[in-house]
Symmetry: C2
Subunit: 149 residues, 2 copies
DNA sequence: GCTGTATAGTTTGATAGTCAAACAATTTGA
DNA sequence: TCAAATTGTTTGACTATCAAACTATACAGC
């Protein structure tokens, strides 16, 4: 029970630390004209195939209207390309421009380093155990009904 | 290396899921006139001794100006008591009112349930190992210099 | 082929969250 | 006693967010 309290504090602290590190990583880096939020949009678009606005908005759990605004700035600043689909002219296709791909890589690097810091503290088996436990936990959280209020 | 990628995805997913659950827990509950943000302010004030604005703003890593606005609403809605200190009239002391304490308990319950879900997947030793690892990780992240860009 | 309905995005209006800088009140120390 | 430091509030500017109104396009049934 005491352990549970300790774990709670640890998780909360970890959450805050990671968010604040993400921000600092941005501020100090090359990409000072975008926010954390913008970065998450870039992350959701990804370096691969172009994606529709709806798809990206879905990934981020925001409305399409919200996304439109974020993309306004990102495309104005040369991170994201916004073009109408030829096949279906209702669709807007979003993809990363050169600068956007560099920002993506930059952020990925940050994540990688963080994960390495985690993994280096576990031996191989333990890391796999951790991965399985996280999977379980996510499944459990998504199951939903148990966490109430 | 593949494991690292998997862990990265798992952490990102877990982050998003927890945030979205926190929001849903609020929306469905008794406290519909406050946001997640407000809840975090309530959490930082805590049920104990009154705290100064600066202290609370520090905990949340926001400016005092930002906090002032959040507290405007929270005190208007009967969650937080704001009073000038008698000892030093520059200080503003923040404490939870009855409704604020109930909101606090509500949110704590949510965290508790979540932690229980984690712990139930580990035996005692493993949970302790996890706690130690998280501590290590936090220490490492705070050390700073290693995570760069 | 029309026409009405569905779908995809954008725009608008409102509210929240954020910071930096200007400001006001109070304390402290020289 | 008065200048400097401390603590908060206010202001101005910008971002983030949603719901609802709106626009443009596609599709389905006649």
């Amino acid at each position: 029970m005491d352990l549970e309290k300790a774990l709670n504090t640890l998780f909360v602290t970890l959450f805050q630390d990671i968010l604040s590190l993400e921000e600092k990583a941005l501020i100090r880096g090359e990409f000072q004209d975008i926010t954390i939020n913008d970065m998450h949009v870039i992350e959701a678009i990804g370096p691969g195939e172009a994606q529709t606005s709806s798809t990206v908005a879905g990934k981020l759990s925001v409305t399409v209207g919200t996304l439109t605004k974020a993309v306004d700035r990102l495309s104005r600043n040369g991170y994201v390309l916004r073009e109408r689909s030829e096949d279906d002219k209702r669709l807007v296709l979003l993809s990363l421009m050169e600068k956007g791909r560099r920002a993506y890589a930059h952020h990925q690097k940050f994540h990688e380093n963080m994960i390495k810091a985690v993994v280096s503290r576990f031996d191989g088996e333990e890391a796999e155990f951790l991965a399985r436990s996280l999977e379980d936990l996510i499944g459990y959280l998504r199951g939903g009904t148990d966490i109430k209020l």
